[in-house]
C-alpha cells in the first residue's frame, strides 16, 4: 500500500486543514489585531479614511490612557523647563502638561481583585460542594442540584434592580466585597456542575486506597482527589474568570467609584478631550492581557479539560 492510512492524514489533507485553521484564526483575530494596532496610532491616524494599515507608531494613546492632562498656552510653554521624560515630551508636543495619573490603573486593579477574587471563591466553594454532591449521600441531592442549576436559567441581569436595592441597604454597593460576592453567586452554579462532572469521573478507589493507607478523609481529598481534578479545576477557573472579567451590566449598575471595574470605565475615556480612540484601544489591549496570561498558563489543562472528560484517560 502506498501511503494510505485510515488514521494518519495525507500531506494534502494536512495542508488543507492548516490553511483552514489559519484562515479562521485570521478572521477571528482581525478585530483584536485592529484594536492592538489602533492603540499605537495617533488620534488622526485612528480615524483617517481610508483606514491606515501602515502608520507611524506612537505611544500617545498609552500616555493619554494613564494620565490626565491640562492644556497650556504657548507663552506658558516657553516658561517651562524642557520635559525630562519621553512621555512628558509626547504630551508637551500637543501643548499640554501632565496633571496627574488617570484612574485607569486603579480601575484595572479593581478588575484584578474582583475577577480573581470571585474566581477563587467560586472554585473553592464549587470544589467543596461538587465533592460533597459527588461522594456523599446528600438528602434531596437531585433537587438541590437542579435548584443550583436553575439559578442560571434566567439572565442574571433580570434581578439587577432587586440586587441594586439590596446592595444599597447592605452597604455593598460599589465595594470589592459586593462585586466578588455577586460574581461568585453567578458563577457558582457553573462551577458546581462542571466540577461535579470532573470529580464523578475520578474513581472512588483512589480515595479508598488513601483511607486504607492511613490518611484521613480530608487528606485523601486534598492529596488524591485535588491533583486529579486539576484539569477540571483549571478549565472551570478560566470560565469563571472570563465571566467576571468581562461582566459589564452589573458593573455599570453597582459600581461608580471605589470598586469600579475596567469594563464600565474604558468607554468613559472617549469623553476626555475629544474622541481619543487610541487611548480606548490601549485600555482594551491592556485589559486583555491578564486573561490571556491566565489562559496560557493553564493551557495544558484546558486542552484536556475542555472536552469535559470525554476522552480523558
Amino acid at each position: 500500500m502506498s501511503g494510505f492510512s485510515v488514521t494518519e492524514p495525507s500531506k494534502r489533507q494536512k495542508w488543507i486543514a492548516g490553511i483552514l485553521v489559519i484562515t479562521y484564526a485570521v478572521v477571528t483575530l482581525m478585530p483584536l489585531l485592529w484594536i492592538i494596532a489602533t492603540g499605537f496610532k495617533s488620534p488622526e491616524d485612528s480615524i483617517s479614511y481610508p483606514p491606515k494599515v501602515i502608520f507611524q507608531p506612537t505611544l500617545e494613546g498609552y500616555v493619554n490612557l494613564f494620565t490626565t492632562q491640562t492644556r497650556i498656552t504657548p507663552n506658558m510653554k516657553d516658561t517651562l523647563a524642557e520635559p525630562d521624560s519621553w512621555y512628558e515630551q509626547i504630551v508637551r508636543d500637543k501643548n499640554m502638561v501632565i496633571a496627574g495619573p488617570s484612574r485607569y490603573g486603579q480601575r484595572f486593579l479593581n478588575s484584578v481583585i474582583i475577577g480573581f477574587g470571585s474566581t477563587f471563591l467560586s472554585i473553592f466553594l464549587g470544589t467543596l460542594a461538587a465533592y460533597a454532591f459527588s461522594r456523599f449521600k446528600v438528602p434531596i441531592k437531585d433537587d438541590l442540584l437542579f435548584f443550583i442549576l436553575s439559578t442560571r436559567m434566567m439572565p442574571p441581569i433580570a434581578v439587577a434592580i432587586p440586587i441594586f436595592l439590596m446592595y444599597r441597604q447592605l452597604g455593598l454597593s460599589d465595594t470589592h466585597l459586593g462585586m466578588i460576592l455577586l460574581y461568585t453567586a453567578v458563577n457558582l452554579s457553573l462551577s458546581v456542575w462542571l466540577l461535579k462532572g470532573f470529580i464523578d469521573e475520578i474513581p472512588l478507589e483512589y480515595e479508598e486506597a488513601a483511607l486504607i493507607d492511613g490518611y484521613t478523609r480530608f487528606q485523601a481529598f486534598y492529596k488524591v482527589v485535588l491533583p486529579q481534578a486539576a484539569t477540571g479545576i483549571a478549565s472551570t477557573a478560566i470560565f469563571c474568570l472570563i465571566f467576571a472579567w468581562n461582566e459589564y451590566a452589573f458593573a455599570v449598575l453597582l459600581t461608580s467609584g471605589e470598586a469600579q471595574t475596567a469594563p464600565p470605565f474604558i468607554p468613559t475615556i472617549i469623553g476626555v478631550g475629544g474622541q481619543d480612540w487610541p487611548a480606548v484601544a490601549a485600555g482594551a489591549t491592556i485589559f486583555l492581557i491578564p486573561v490571556m496570561i491566565f489562559t496560557i498558563f493553564l493551557r495544558k489543562h484546558l486542552l484536556r479539560g475542555i472536552t469535559f472528560g470525554a476522552v480523558r484517560k
Partner: protein, 365 residues
C-alpha cells in the same frame, strides 16, 4: 499478623440485603478465599472487614479487637483493589511509599523500605516510572508493593488478578501464593473462580445471594458440599445430581429408586419426597454388569482421562473415566457409584442430608 473473626455480619443497601448474617473465622497466617458468583456479596464483605463499608449489624474482630465501627485507617490492614487504584499522579516509588508517609516515617527509612519491597517483587528497574505506562503485571506488583511495604496485620485482595489475561493470571497467582508463604500474613482473597480458590486457598468460604453456604478447607468442601449450590459451583465438571422421589431414614446404608438399590454412607437423618443423589464425575464407574444403565450422548477426550456424558432415567450424568475405557456415542452402559463418596440432598431445601461420612465436615461449619 492477625486472626479475623466475622460474627453475624450483615449489610443492607436500602431495602436490598447484600450480605445476610455471615459468620466465619480466618486464622492467623491463613490464605483465605471468599468465593461465590457475581453479586453474591464478596466485595461487600471484604469492604466491611477493611472498614470501607460500615456493617448494618454484626461484628468484626481483628486480633481480638472489635473494629466494625472503626475507620479503615485505624485497622492497619492493606487492600489491593481489582483495578489496582495506583495513584496516577505519582510514580512507582511514590506510590509504594505513600502508606509510609502517612505514618510520618523518616525519608531515609522509607527509601530503604521501598527498595526492600521492590527487590522482593522484582520491580527495582521501574521505580522511577510513572504508573500510567506500566503493564498489567507490573501494576499488580506495584499495588502489592504498596500493600506489603507497611507490614499490615492483614491483606484484603478483591479479585486482584481479574484484570490480567488468562495466561498471566496463572503466573501471578503462583507469585502471590509464594509471596504469602514467605511473609505468612493473613490474607483474605476474593474470587469468583472456583479453580483459583481451590488451588490457592488454605480455606474457602462459599457465598451465594449474600449468605455463607459453606466454609472449610478446599478438600472438605469439594468432597462434602453442604448444599447443592456448593456441589454445583465447585468442581469442573460439577457434581452430578440424580433426581428421584423416595425416603431415607436414620441408619439407612442404601437407597433405592427406579428399581435399583445403591449403597450410600450411613444416614444420620430422615427425609422424604424429592431427593437428589450427588456424585462427583470421578466416582462414577462404567461397569457393564451393572443393572442401572445410561446412554452415552457425548465423550470429551482429555489425554489421560475423558468425560463421558450419559443420559440416565434420573437426569444427565457426567463420568470422568480413564481414556482407555471404551465408550461410544449411542452405547448403553451400566453405571455404578463409589458408595463412600455419595452425598444425598433434599431438593426442596437444597441442603445436604447428614451422614456418617459428611458429619465431621458439616458439623464444624
Amino acid at each position: 499478623m492477625a486472626q479475623i473473626i466475622i460474627k453475624n455480619l450483615r449489610k443492607d443497601f436500602g431495602d436490598f440485603t447484600a450480605v445476610k448474617s455471615s459468620s466465619f473465622t480466618i486464622e492467623d497466617g491463613e490464605f483465605f478465599m471468599l468465593l461465590g458468583p457475581s453479586g453474591c456479596g464478596k466485595t461487600t464483605t471484604l469492604r466491611m472487614i477493611a472498614g470501607l463499608e460500615m456493617p448494618t449489624a454484626g461484628e468484626v474482630f481483628i486480633d481480638g479487637e472489635e473494629v466494625s465501627q472503626k475507620r479503615a485507617s485505624e485497622r492497619d490492614i492493606a487492600f489491593v483493589f481489582q483495578m489496582f487504584a495506583l495513584y496516577p499522579h505519582l510514580n512507582v516509588q511514590q506510590n509504594i511509599s505513600y502508606p509510609l508517609k502517612s505514618q510520618g516515617m523518616p525519608k531515609a527509612q522509607i527509601k530503604v523500605k521501598v527498595a526492600e519491597v521492590a527487590k522482593i517483587l522484582g520491580i527495582e528497574h521501574i521505580l522511577n516510572k510513572p504508573v500510567g505506562g506500566l503493564s498489567g503485571g507490573d501494576r499488580q506488583r506495584v499495588a502489592l508493593g504498596r500493600a506489603i511495604v507497611r507490614e499490615p496485620k492483614a491483606f484484603m485482595m478483591d479479585e486482584p488478578l481479574g484484570a490480567l489475561d488468562a495466561e498471566f493470571r496463572e503466573h501471578m497467582s503462583q507469585e502471590l501464593r509464594t509471596l504469602h508463604d514467605q511473609m505468612g500474613a493473613t490474607t483474605v482473597y476474593v474470587t469468583h473462580d472456583q479453580l483459583e480458590a481451590m488451588q490457592m486457598g488454605d480455606k474457602i468460604v462459599v457465598m451465594n445471594h449474600g449468605s455463607v453456604e459453606q466454609f472449610g478447607v478446599p478438600q472438605d468442601i469439594y468432597d462434602w458440599p453442604a448444599t447443592m449450590f456448593v456441589a454445583n459451583f465447585i468442581g469442573s465438571p460439577s457434581m452430578n445430581f440424580l433426581h428421584f422421589e423416595g425416603t431415607v431414614a436414620t441408619g439407612d446404608t442404601s437407597i433405592s429408586f427406579d428399581g435399583q438399590s445403591f449403597d450410600i454412607p450411613a444416614q444420620l437423618s430422615t427425609a422424604s419426597g424429592k431427593l437428589v443423589m450427588g456424585v462427583r464425575p470421578e466416582h462414577v464407574v462404567l461397569q457393564d454388569d451393572s443393572a442401572y444403565r445410561g446412554e452415552v450422548t457425548a465423550t470429551e477426550y482429555l489425554g489421560t482421562t475423558q468425560i463421558v456424558t450419559l443420559d440416565t432415567p434420573n437426569g444427565i450424568l457426567k463420568a470422568r473415566t480413564p481414556a482407555t475405557q471404551v465408550a461410544n456415542v449411542g452405547d448403553t452402559i451400566g453405571l455404578d457409584f463409589n458408595p463412600r463418596t455419595i452425598t444425598l440432598f433434599d431438593e426442596t431445601t437444597g441442603e445436604a442430608l447428614l451422614s456418617k461420612a459428611n458429619k465431621g465436615v458439616l458439623d464444624h461449619g
